[in-house]
Every structure is written in C-alpha cells, then in structure tokens.
C-alpha cells in the first residue's frame, strides 16, 4: 500500500462521486443557511469584511471536520463514545479548577494556542453517550435505564449550569433527553418525568444566579427596566417589529447599524435578519431550518442500528432547540440565554461543533440501512 498522495486523493474523489457518503440535500441546506448567515453578518457587522472572513474560515474548518467525521463509521464512534464522554466531563471538572473567567463566567479553557469551551463538546458527546448506553438495552427503556440516563445527563449539565451557562446546559440536557424520547420512552413515563420537573422548578429557581432570575423576570415585564435588563428585549423586539413583512432591506436595519441592538452579530443576529428581511425572510429561514431538521430525522430513520438512530435523531432535534430558544429570545418570547442562532450567529465554537455534529449525521447516512 505505497500509494502516492495523488492516487489516494483520486481514489477518495472517485469514492465521493461513485458512493456518496454525504447527503447532498442536507449539505445544500447547510450551505444555504451558512450563506444567509454570512450575508446577515456582513450587514450586522456594519459592512465589515474581516468579520465575514473569520466566520467563513470557521465554516471551512467546520466543513473539514464534518468531512473527516463522515469518513468514520458509526460503529467506530460508538466504540470511542465512553472515552469521549469521560474526557469531556473531565475537562468540565478541570474547568472548575483552572478555567478562565470571562465576563463573570468560567467557561473557557485556555489551551495556549486557542481557548475553547469544553461545554461545547458535550453538545455532541452527550447524545452519543445516551445513545451508547441505550444501544444494547431493551427498548423502550425501563425506569432503571431512565434513571441511569438521567444521571449521565445531570452530572455534566449541572457542571455547565454552575459555570454559569444556562443556555448550553439547556442544549446539553435537551440533546440527552431527545435521545431518551426517541428511544421510545413510554408517554406516561415522559408525563410523569415532566411533572416531576415542573414540581422542581421552584427549587431550581432557588439555585439560579440573580442575573438569571433577573432575565426571567425581565422577560415577563421588559418595560420595568428599559435601560438595564429590559434593554436587550425591548430593542430586539423593536428591530423585529419595525422590520414588518418585507423588511427594511439588506444593510438598512437602523436598530443594529446604530448600535441600539446589543450583541447584534452574535446572539441577537436574528433580530438584524428579521429587521432587514422581514417576516418573509423569517418564514424562509425557519422553513430552511425545518428542512434541515426533517432531512436529519429522515437520515436517522434510515440508520442501521439503534446507536446511530438515537444519535442522529438527537442531533437533529437539538438543532431545533437552538432555533427555538434563540428565535424566541430575539422575539421576546423566551428569556435571554446564551444560545446562538445555529450557523447564522457569529462565533467559532458553535459553528464548528454544529458542523461536526452534521459530520456524524453524514457518517450515519453513509452507513445507512441497505434496503432490500
């Protein structure tokens, strides 16, 4: 096997063409989404090409990771799963000791060359771990399995929530919970569990940081504190609402361009999008998200084994959580939590981890069931 680099590349290209491991509709959807994100970012950043360039570079990096992962068969991934999970939880623990504090939260781990958020890893390793745990077990899961999965979710989610990073904790919990849901957990058990969670909400309130409580309270009545916590919500709603049906046009959103809208390239970029492209743009982009989620769920259904199914389904459904939480936050429907609009918000880690997730989906797609 002393192939030249050239012949190996040629073989790879031939294989991609003859036996596509990538799902082209999904790839196309992601591409369109990324493009919409870059176009909005250009406007939200005030015509700043370096911002767009950075983001595009991350897309490229994420796409390379996606291609790499798509070459790894799900069976191999499954073998790695416990180790990856253990490693990411270990990093979270390490963070409590040596993490870097940025704007009051201990989320970042400095690796010298770059810093990253270990909690991002959990967005992928969490559904992997739940899928790995449920894979050999009889489904629908028993109470014992549910409790075990609950523990697998609770430990890292608790660590993340303590950083504090409520948004990521919600995403991590959602990813694990979706795997449990897709595994066929009985509806009455789901009902019972949700009931228990609802009962625990007042207890959880007690553990929230004051700023997190404020955010929730502000959501209920943003005008009570128009220049403080309410500012984000009010200005974001003004941006969205003033956009109207057809929007103010690209680069004509006054709210973001005049800096009334905070975080308008990152968490609140969807407000810029809504202001400039209006309801028509919102419906189009939500439809695109729906298409990506639907296509991903279809890939999950076509998957060969339980592990692949659950993992792919959980990734697809947690994508929805991103969209719903961010879109709801921008529209003043949900409290302000740090959840980006996937592939639209400016920010490296999120884009890379999302695309990595889609790499896993691509791999599952490549190793799908063979229909008779």
């Amino acid at each position: 096997m002393i192939d030249t680099l050239q012949t190996r590349l040629q073989r790879l290209l031939r294989r991609i063409v003859t036996r596509p491991r990538l799902d082209l509709p999904l790839l196309g959807g992601l591409f369109l989404l990324g493009l919409a994100g870059l176009v909005t970012l250009y406007s939200a950043g005030g015509g700043n090409f370096s911002l767009v360039g950075n983001q595009a570079a991350r897309f490229v990096m994420g796409t390379v990771l996606m291609l790499l992962l798509s070459r790894i068969p799900p069976s191999v991934l499954r073998g790695w799963t416990p180790w990856l999970y253990a490693a990411s939880v270990a990093l979270l623990l390490a963070l409590t000791v040596m993490g870097e504090v940025r704007s009051g939260a201990r989320r970042w781990l400095d690796l010298g060359v770059m810093s990253f958020q270990p909690s991002e890893l959990l967005k992928l390793t969490m559904p992997m771990m739940v899928a790995w745990y449920l894979h050999p077990r009889q489904l629908p899961p028993s109470w014992k399995d549910i409790v075990a999965v609950g523990a697998l979710i609770a430990v890292p989610a608790g660590l993340i929530a303590r950083q504090p990073d409520l948004g990521t904790a919600v995403l991590v919990i959602a990813a694990g919970a979706f795997a449990l849901f897709l595994s066929g957990m009985r509806w009455w058990k789901i009902g019972a569990l949700l009931g228990a969670v609802a009962a625990l909400v007042p207890v959880g309130w007690h553990f929230l940081h004051q700023y997190q409580r404020d955010r929730v309270m502000t959501l209920l009545d943003p005008e009570s504190d128009p220049l403080g916590n309410g500012w984000h919500i009010i200005q974001s709603q003004i941006a969205v609402g003033s956009g109207g049906v057809f929007g103010k046009g690209w680069q004509h959103g006054t709210q973001s361009r005049l800096d009334f809208l905070p975080e308008h390239t990152t968490d609140f970029i969807f407000a810029v999008f809504s202001e400039e492209f209006g309801l028509v743009g919102v419906i189009a982009i939500v439809a695109l998200y729906a298409f990506i989620i639907g296509r991903s769920l279809w890939i999950a259904m076509e998957a060969r084994d339980t592990y692949s199914r659950l993992l792919a389904g959980a990734i697809a459904m947690s994508f929805f959580v991103y969209v719903f939480v961010n879109g709801g936050m921008v529209a003043g429907m949900l409290p302000v939590v740090g959840v980006p609009m996937p592939l639209v918000s400016y920010g490296g880690t999120s884009a890379v981890s999302l695309l990595t997730g889609f790499g896993v989906l691509m791999s599952i797609h490549a190793n799908r069931k063979v229909h008779d």
Partner: protein, 657 residues
Amino acid sequence: MIRRRAIKDPRGESDLFRRRAITGFLLILLGLMALVGRYVYLQVLRHDEFVTRADANRVKPRAIAPARGLIYDRNGVLLADNVPAFRLEVVPEQVPDMPAMLERIRAVVPLDQDDLDAFRKQLKQNRSFESVPLKLHLSEDDIARFELNRWRFPGVDVVPYLTRRYPYGELLAHVIGYVGRIDADDLARLDPARYKGTSHVGRVGIERSYEDTLHGTPGYELVEVNADGRIQRVLQTEPPVPGKNLYLSIDIRLQKAAEAAFAGRPGAAVAIDPRNGQVLAMVSVPSFDPNLFVNGIGHADYTALNTNPDTPLNNRALRGAYPPGSTVKPFLALGGLEYGVRRPQDTVLSTGEFCLPNQSRCYRDDVRGGNGTVNMVRAIQLSTNTYFYKLALDLGIDRLSEWMARFSFGGKTGVDLPGELTGTLPSRAWKAAHFKQPWFPGETVLSGIGQAYWQVTPLQLAHATAALAGHGVPYAPRVVMATQASVSAPREPLANPPGQSLIKKPGAWDVVNQGMEAVITGGTGRGLNDGFPYVIAGKSGTAERFSRRTDAYDTNKNSAYLAARHRAWFIAYTPADDPQIAVAVVLEAGAWGGKDAGPIARKILDAWLLARGEHLLPTRPAAPASAAPASSAPPPEAPPEDEDLPAEATSSGGATP
C-alpha cells in the same frame, strides 16, 4: 450481553423510532410555527408601533443655536465678535450614573464648583435627551485629554460653539455689557423655544437691552443618532436665522480719548449728539474686562472686582448719582427766563452772603465779598451763587422741580441701556415721601445751586446738556443707531423722534448760551477753548460730598484734601452756533469742576474734532467773535480755586439718602 441481545427486537425498535421521530418532527413543526406566529405578531400586528419606536430611537431633533448679532461702532469697527470655541456637553439620559461620571470626569477635565452648580441647575430644567453644557471654553489640553478618555464617558461630548469676544475689553464694558451663561433664573424668564441650544444670554448693557435683536431665531436639524447618542447623519436641516448686527452711535475714537482722559481716576463721561440723541461716547472709570464673564467668571476674579473700593463693576455713567452742583445753574437760568421770573438784564448784588429773613445762618458765595452786581450772563459766567439763590426762591421749589423734571432730572432719560438710576430731583413730594417732613425755604435756596437733595447721573446731565444745546429739543439718548440683518445687508437706522421743545421763548436760549460761552472765555472754564476752532459753551460744577460742620471758611487749599471732599463736574457743548456734541463729565475725586473735569471734557471734544477730520488750530487764537458779548467788563481775577463752591447751611445740606 447475549441474554440481552436475545430480548432485543431490532425491527420493533426501528418502527418505534420511526413513530417517535415523526411525532418529534411534528412537535418541532408546531414549535417552529409558534415561533413564526410570534414574528407575525411582532412584524404584522405590532409593526406600526415598533416602526414608531425605532424612529424615536434613532431620530432626534436638535436645535441649532443662531449666531448672535455682531456689534460695531458707528464707523464699522467691530466691538463684539463671535469666535469658535469648544465646550463639554452631557446628554443626561445616556449617562448611567451621573454623580459617578462627574466624579470621574473631574480627573480628566478640571471642573470648578461654578461649573457644577450651573450644570446641576440646568440639568433639572432640561429634558433628559437634551444635552446640557458642563464646561465652556475648553482648552486644547482639556480637549486632548477628554478625547483620549472619551470611551469612558458615554453621553459626554466635545461640541463646537461660538463664544462672545469683546476685542476692546474694558473700554466698552459698561456700554456693551456682556453675555453670560444661561442659568436657572434666565431659564424661567426666557422663551424656551427661542433659546433651545443657546448657552448664553445678554446680561448687562447693550447685550441685554438688545437681546431680542441680537439673539436671532434658532433652527433645528433632525439627526440620526446611535445608541450612545452620537450623531450619525443629519436627515433634515432648518437653518437658524442669525441675530441682527448692531451699529452703535459710539465712536471708538471718542470713547478711547474719554477713557484716556480720566487716567484711571474714578468718574464718568457721556457725550451725546444734541441733534439726534446719539451717544457718541460713554465711559465709566474704572472698568473691567467683560470677556471674563462670558464663560463664567472665576471666583477669585469676581471677588477681586467686587471688593475693589473703586467699584469697577458699577456703571457710573448710568448708576452713579452725584449732586450736580453749579452745573444746574444754566438750566435754572433758562427756567427763570421761561417762567418770566427773570429778564436777562435783571441784576443781583452779590455780597458774599445771602441770608433768608429771620435766619441767622446765611448762604455763601464762593468768593469772599461776592461778585458784585451781576446780570444773568455774568452770573452763569462767574457761577454767582447769590443770583441763583434768589432765582430759586423766586421760582419756588414747585416750579423749579417741574422745570428741571423736563430735562429728565429725577427721572429716566429713556436710554436704550438697562439699569439707569433716576437720581433725585428735590421737590416737596419727594421730601414728603422720603422724610415725611415739610419743605423748608432754605432747601429751595440750596436747590438753586445743585445741592440739597439733588442727585444726578452723568447720563442725565449729558442728556440735559444735549437738550439745552439742541435749543431745548430733547431726544432720548440712544447708544444703538442702526441694525443690520446680515453683514452684506444695508443698515436700518432706528427711529428716535424728538420730544417737544422745552423752550418757548426764542431769545431765552441765546442768553444762557452767552453765559456758558463766557464760562469758557472768561469764567471757571477759562482756557478750555485754546486752539479749538469752534466756540465751546460750558459750565463747571463742584459739589460737596459732605455737609459743612462749621460756619468757618475752609482755608485748606490742598488739592488732594479738596478732591476727597468734592465731586468735579463739567458740561459743555460745541459748536455753540450749531451744537453737534454735548458732554457731561464727572470726576469723583476732583478738587474743582473747571480745573479737573473741564480738561477731560475738552479732550473728548478734541477727539470729536479729529474724528471729523479737522484739526486744532496751531496757535492760540483770539477769543471767537461770537463769544461773550456780555463780558465786556474784564473778568474778575477770581482764582480758580474759588470757583462755584457752594456754601450751604449746616442744617439743610448734604442730606442725601
């Protein structure tokens, strides 16, 4: 593991997953529809509301202050200018913590207590999105330091503005006055719509009395601002209408000459054109630098001005009230003729002492032994007290004060400057009001020589002299003669119609004029016409500041001693045959009217002559032909020290409230 695998049902699990995935997707679609529903609610149902709020966010009206009108002298010399400067402004609604910001900014731009007080006052008055000036007239260092630290101070900005500058400083401070920073009292007084964006308002002088003309009308612009309130672009502009320029009737050359003539000695001088009431010069010495007040005077500077014993802030021309002394005599003489109490040829014997019946205390002439027999012309020339004692008695106090009031004594001249005092014209009514006492005949006697309760301002006396010089036709004194809409526009003269003539008998004026000419040629103003090509008419006055305590003649002839006791006056007009300038000069600490105040008046007349393009005669001329026909007798050798000093009774003199 084997046991478990046996139980697992791959096909069933796959079906179960499929059902769950489809259920999940339907739930997701439901969630996404709910999300879109929220956007429909915001973008369709509440669209109009949010559009309004977005515009309210970004579009702010901003007033543009009009440029204040400039002030020129009668020949177009610039006296008050607008020069660019920078100030620090704060938009209150953008400052999260005002006290903390003020504390921090003091380290960058020094602020004194005055700045902070004014700022806090205006802060209460302004709406929160309107900027409030914090510090005016920033130095270049201040600006540089602030720009470096600007990011620390949202809502604070360096803003250019036009500040007032008075190039002639002290010379015109009492005429032009100054503008000052608008304070809380001003805000209550001024129309807020007209003064939006304006930081200064006329405080004193012309700047105050012509505030309406100088101010102009503000414009506005609609500007788009960002969240920090920084202006991004201007959407619409309505330009302001600048204030009108003013042309003063003051001639800066006369003004300079008058000020120089005082050589720093406290006093005042006013020169008026009798033909139209235009004020040609108006000085009050000492003066102050009005530029200090424009951007807020420092505490030390203000204390220094306020505690100066010579009161430089006091405008003596309008607000200095002094007993007029003998300067009232020509007016009284005219009154005697007009009321028919005297004929020009009527004579009085001056023996040096004038006594009322049944009174032991008598009233003196200046010269021991008196001036002998004098007619009206000679009585004016020699300032013979006895003549005017008798004239005052014969007129009676009622006719005397009625007559004098026509010259604006005891009232306002109506000058276009704020704050003039009325002085005091002695009358029964005035005394009753102030002392609740009846009028005594002795007070009438003293009123005849400008003592008793008499108090006049230099402006009043100048105005009266001008009215006399203009053959009795009074004009309200005017400092501003024309306005101008813009530099290129034509001047629009301000109307100043004359009042009714005070003189009914045509010959009366000539007699008084003769007397006043004789004052210069052979009386107390001897020598004041040397080298002057026109005939000057004048009258000196030396008023006592204090009541005499004893009957003894004061033999101390030391000038400094006398200066401390006397006010020296001189009034004059020229050319006597066609009067074009009338002046009144008071020297607060002058020993003698003719000797000390007279030369100041002459220097003003010299400047007037030069301003006309004429020159003094090279040699001392013979007495002008028209002068002093009545003084055929050689003037008595009265030493100048003995001029027109009134002699008053201890009981009645100097009772000045």
